[in-house]
Symmetry: C2
Amino acid sequence: MSPATDPSTTPAPGHGFRTVAIVGLGLIGGSLARALAALNRPPRVVATSQAASNLEQAERAGAIDAGSTDPEAVLAGADLVVYATPLDVTLRLLADHRGRWPAGAVVTDVASLKGPVEEAMRALGESARYTGSHPMAGGEGSGFGHSAADLLAGSTVWLTGRGAGAAGVEALWRAVGAHPRWTTASEHDRLMSWCSHLPQLASNALARVLQESGHAPSDLGTGGTDMVRLAGSSPEMWLPLLARSEAGAALRDLARAARELADALDGRDLEAIEDWMRSTRSWRAGAAEPPPPPPAPAT
Amino acid sequence: MSPATDPSTTPAPGHGFRTVAIVGLGLIGGSLARALAALNRPPRVVATSQAASNLEQAERAGAIDAGSTDPEAVLAGADLVVYATPLDVTLRLLADHRGRWPAGAVVTDVASLKGPVEEAMRALGESARYTGSHPMAGGEGSGFGHSAADLLAGSTVWLTGRGAGAAGVEALWRAVGAHPRWTTASEHDRLMSWCSHLPQLASNALARVLQESGHAPSDLGTGGTDMVRLAGSSPEMWLPLLARSEAGAALRDLARAARELADALDGRDLEAIEDWMRSTRSWRAGAAEPPPPPPAPAT
């Protein structure tokens, strides 16, 4: 499984990368490999993974041209290296792999926080080759076994950093059907605190109080079942993110909102409850309504 | 559309009701009518609704044998009367219809709180004919247009009250494929506070803080989108329930849990967060693990 590269036989696609090296063949890495392999003019796709079984599965599935548990062999011929490992692993591997990236090779990653990766590349003096990616795709399943060629299609991919390979990274995501959107690492990470970490932790909080009060998942209706689905998410994936998350303020805001609703309920303030329900229903429907009055300061 | 009844032509099914009168042809009433009409040995199904269009639709769909906007005509021949209206409407109609129920007719309803209905029937001196039902079925859609013959199949139906017709009501729900479970009104309503009202209001609270912080539903990933789905629920259906809900304590518990998680996050207490995530994941998977330590008292 040596990832030999023969650029002369590979026509250059729109993104300009002839050989894409994917580090980690989990849900996202595996799906990216499958999607690239399915292109009309696929780049050469090579991969490295600690799990030899993932590499074998990916080769059998035709998702990669070659793979190796030895990253050195895989990195050697790459125009683009995509780190598709959990955030803490990515941070470790970037430091390990520095000096093994070919001259001119572009580096990106798919971690759900972009600040720590950008900072790591800056500390390594490698910012010039780095563009951060965060594909908003996934699901309950994890691992190569759940990967799919169309997982990324239609999903937003946040891009940060704008290194030398920025245009190519953007074109690569577009090629697999995703919708790239540029932002800064700090804006991205703030957005994730609210729109990713907060819903995740809200589900954990809800599940915990149901558990503590002696209720079972089977006591829930369809709506409640949806609300605790995220509570089944993988701690392995989430802990490195939460270790660097700024979602504390958002969680305190949720606590404040829950208390306000409790006060309205206990005080039988139906007008307040109706306002909440109508306002959040309009928000969810995307209606252009004037924003509600600002919340009372948290007490 | 006069609901004339001819019991002699209708074989008595397992539940023993020859004519079932359904009051209200929304999602649940409409689905019950459709399911009954689809039985091998259907009872005669008659219905009353304020919306003549619903009655016409239901007749065209073959879901009812006859219908009338005049409840008196519909109630006259009924062995079983099913109130499938919002809770506040049901409470009003029970008082209005008292004295129009045939001798021996059984009364049930489908409201999501059973205490207020049980209390209303007690106050009317009509407890003997009353058994409460709460089918845990539904969805985002409402109204007859969203009803389906299989909506109730497989869903839990909570039963309370055990009036004279209890066995027949239980058999009727079984006949349409639902799973009846007996409880008391107070236990049922406590369960709903935690397992129905709390998830609903948690979704409203989450949507509100996202709205107030300037985020749009389109900023959410798939998991977050699930978490705000209930925020689109109908205020018309929920307000009569929330007006009588005891979910204040559950909401305060959720607020406490969200604060604890915020503290763990801000203090970078990864062990505590990992414990939350593992414990709620096990709970959701239905694993028989020892319960977590009791929560600290709310402050």
